[in-house]
């Protein structure tokens, strides 16, 4: 099914883009790697206007300012792989980018698009949740661009759904530069090493302290309607000295906290199993330094 758009707008500024969104009935395209497929398969994006934001050059790039890292929404996955700030301040993002789809898709796909697609299995969301990121939403209201910040942890409301309103554009993602001693680990699995939608993905982060983690973050993808922070698992992990037995106790908590479904990609049993073994892997890596 082809979609017949009536209008095409290639905005060059956030003001222009948000004005177009304010007029309503617009579908945003950035990298197009999800939209093109969804449009062909399901007719998603059946709006009358196609809004291309790729020419807004301000929205691409990573900056470190006053201890806060800001990533423009149009930063590509390949950018994250090669960016110096990311490598230095938040290498978990580069590690995740390295597992993301394929080279061709990474070159086109944007961080903002990966978030707005709101897939429970969206890869880049996992490390950004580990990093306590906020997203910046911009809208054209009362004759000017206004912005609001939303914690990424409160951004998603269901598969393909988020709190962003129709007139808002996700313009950037930001997080505090992790403190000294921070480690972050990302894991995903599927039968293929590339071009693979995660059956389960896991992100763990925290400050290494005394053979354990403080300020622990545990995030899972594809085990619930949205990517989730596993609060109980985080609490169980907080300050815990990691060894074989204590890791097993954390896994039991994680198992109680996830609620995966069975679908064409995996059974709920296998997803639970993956939550255990992938969390175990990540925690062992932390324990082993």
């Amino acid at each position: 099914m082809m979609i017949e758009y009536e209008n095409y707008v290639a905005a060059t500024s956030v003001a222009e883009a948000t004005k177009t969104l304010a007029e309503g009935n617009a579908t945003v395209v950035a990298g197009g790697t999800d939209l093109m497929v969804q449009t062909a398969a399901s007719g998603r994006g059946a709006n009358t206007t196609l809004l291309n934001i790729r020419r807004i050059s301000d929205l691409r790039g990573v900056a470190l300012d006053g201890g806060r890292v800001t990533i423009g929404a149009l930063t590509t996955i390949t950018d994250l792989l090669t960016d110096g700030v990311v490598a230095d301040a938040a290498s978990i993002l580069a590690d995740t980018a390295n597992r993301f789809a394929s080279n061709q898709i990474r070159n086109m796909a944007t961080v903002g698009g990966n978030i707005c697609n709101a897939s429970p299995a969206g890869d880049m969301i996992i490390p950004l949740l580990v990093l306590d990121a906020d997203v910046e939403l911009s809208a054209w209201r009362d004759g000017a661009v206004t912005t609001r910040a939303v914690a990424l942890n409160e951004f998603f409301t269901g598969p393909g759904k988020c709190v962003k309103t129709e007139d808002e554009l996700l313009t950037s993602i930001s997080f505090n530069r992790p403190a000294e001693g921070f480690v972050g680990q990302f894991g995903k699995t599927g039968p293929r090493p590339a071009l693979e939608i995660s059956m389960v993905s896991v992100g763990v982060g925290g400050i290494v302290d005394n053979g354990g983690l403080t300020n622990a973050r545990v995030v899972y993808g594809a085990v619930a309607p949205t990517p989730i922070r596993a609060a109980k698992t985080e609490a169980a992990l907080e300050g815990l000295s990691l060894n074989e037995a204590s890791i097993q106790s954390v896994l039991d908590v994680a198992d109680s906290e996830v609620n995966p479904i069975s679908d064409v990609r995996a059974s709920d049993w296998y997803r639970r199993h993956l939550v255990r073994v992938m969390t175990q892997e990540v925690l062992q890596n932390v324990a082993n330094g």
């Binding site: 394929s102 599927g190 293929r192 064409v264 990609r265 073994v277 175990q280």
Partner: protein, 773 residues
Amino acid sequence: MSEAIEKTTLIGKSITKPDAPDKSNGRTRYINDMVLPRMLIGKIKRSDRAHAKVLSIDTSKAAAVPGIQAIVTADDTPMVGVGVTKDNPPLKKDIVLSMRDELVAVAGETEEAVDKALALIEIEYEDLPAIFDPAEALEEGAHQMHDDKPGNLSLGYQTVHGDIKQAEKDSDHVLDEVYDVHYVTHVCMGPGCVIADFDTHGKLTMYTQTQYPYNYKMDLAPSLGMHPGDIRVIQPPVGGAFGSKLDVYPFEPIAVFLAKKTRRPVKVIFSREEEFSASPTRQPARFHIRAGVKNDGTLTFRDVDALLNNGSHTSWGATTPFVMMRTFTGHFRVPDVEFRSRAAYTNMPYAGSFRGYGNVQATYVTATVMDKLAEAVNMDPISFRLMNAQKAGEITPQNSKLEECLLGECIETVAEKTNFLEQYNAFKAEQDSPGRYKKGIGIATSFHNAGGAKIHKSDGCGTVIMLDDYARATVITGASEIGQGIDAVLTQIVAEELGIPTENITLVNNDSAIGPWDVGVHASRTTFIAGNSAKRAARKARDQILDAAAQRSNVAADDLDLRGGSVVQNDNGVPVMKIDSLLRKMHFAGEDAELVITHDYYEPPSEPEGDNHVGDISAAYSHGAYVAEVTVDTWTGVVKLNKMTAVQDVGRVVNKLGIEGQMEGGIAFGIGYGLTEEMIIEGGEIKNPNFRDYKVMTAPEAPELEFHFIENDDPDGPFGAKGIAELPTIIPAPAIANAVYNAIGIRFNNPPLTPEKVARAIVDKQAAKVAAE
């Protein structure tokens, strides 16, 4: 004329496929890209029920969509079936038997208009009880799918040799197991496409992806109420076929119905989803195998029952037991063998022909059973196979004459190249020790027809060769090019015979009004059959040229050779004359004028099967022995294939680059079959009709590949060559499964070995171990 021209050979050299550069740089105009003047787009409304009565079809709203030019239903057609047993009317009336069943076809000016119209067609159904399991379909009282097929029985095969009962008594160990092999599909990069075009005389031109252009006319014509002679088949470049285009499928006559009604060319092209859901699959099957062995390692018997899910209609899938049985009865020396198969109609998709043709399934069973039997008698996998491997000259119970059998050499070579036994024993010892990652090594072997297969009245191929005044050759062959590389092979063979450069040869094989008959691209046959035909036609041209040269020189034809574009003296290579200048002399010789135009029709020295499926159906057979080396992640269940070493009996390599590419592509299919590819079908509906969830292998997980070609000229093959296109697809999966067993001690009788399946089996095994303690 001075310097001597040395005798060289093109056979065994690497030459680039003539179609490769254009395919690489995007210039190739595939059938999918073709647009004819005034061409309409046709699409098909399919059933969304697995089994139902069709109460009404209302197309009035669809017809009102601007741009719609024709709508056809079964009422507009002769209702004559297509497919192997002609049980598949292109458009269905009153009853639908599967989700893919075609009900209405629409032609319009644009894809958008046709999509709109399809969405507006209203169909009322009354659901009937659906059957998805073939065993259930054969139960008494099961709903009958086809009036003329009592008991839902489609095709059945049986071959019986020796005395199984006695052989069982003589056995020290008897293995009794059930295997379930799954649905996979071809995933051609170019989805299904056809263009039908009538001329003003009512003659039909079909632009099609077919891989059997001549019998295609014969199979298509009845469904159209036409004479086959009034159909011309044009074959533009295709994006893969692999067996999926070896039959007529409903979308092809449907395009014709629409073209006839509109008097305009009509193109029907599949979406990717249709390519998954409406193309044929590989035949799934349930095998019950009993196999015996003596304590000394001698195989005693094999007894196999195969139950095939025929699906709603019948294509080549239901005939794959024809090939399965050759492997069950003929691979390794087994004196007493029986094979029986039944295919039962269900409300599932139906299977077609697919590279490997039943042997992929049969080899998964036999190659893992061989491993199990070796273990039962405490023998290693190599010695056990070697002691039961046939030697040259042996004949299988079905009368496959293994005149040049190299099975033993293949096994010995692959064992040596991979240091098999040392690795095998080391990994086996590590099975139960702690550690997340386990390594394993496994071997599998098979054999396949390598000199065509006489399943039709003729297994032949024709060739015409014409040389012009500049010594450029046009080779018109019946053999189709569907990506397998026959154009390069025939170019090499003709260039070799005529002593002209390969770039001076043009291949023509895309028009049934021009090319001579050929039975089609299947059964690993084109190099052997079309190669022989081209070689013989070229030999005739060569003889004609040498005779003419002899007449115009004082050298006898027997003492002349063709090299580097010249006629030379055979003994010293000294040029006598240029071939092109000789051709012009022959052409402009007044009353004695002659052109060099030769032809040949080659029929291989094979025989059709007689009673009990006995017959030497192929002019040659090939064996292969492959070894897989894997790492199993015992936590996630992911099996990583590190390396595949393939030892392949090829007779003689013709195009080295071509055969390597064919091995690589075939092995990729085999790996997908063994590890990741599976159509998930629930309630008759395919749940993963896309590349996201149907997992074909991608470049990063391609293993290291090592090939060893055993070259031992086949006496009947062109320059000694055999056809080996299918074995690389057939052998990998069981080699992987045997390697996984070596790693973790778990057998899988139900490929593919997906991460979840493997993880579950590991967890279950650990639980059983704990329970036992």
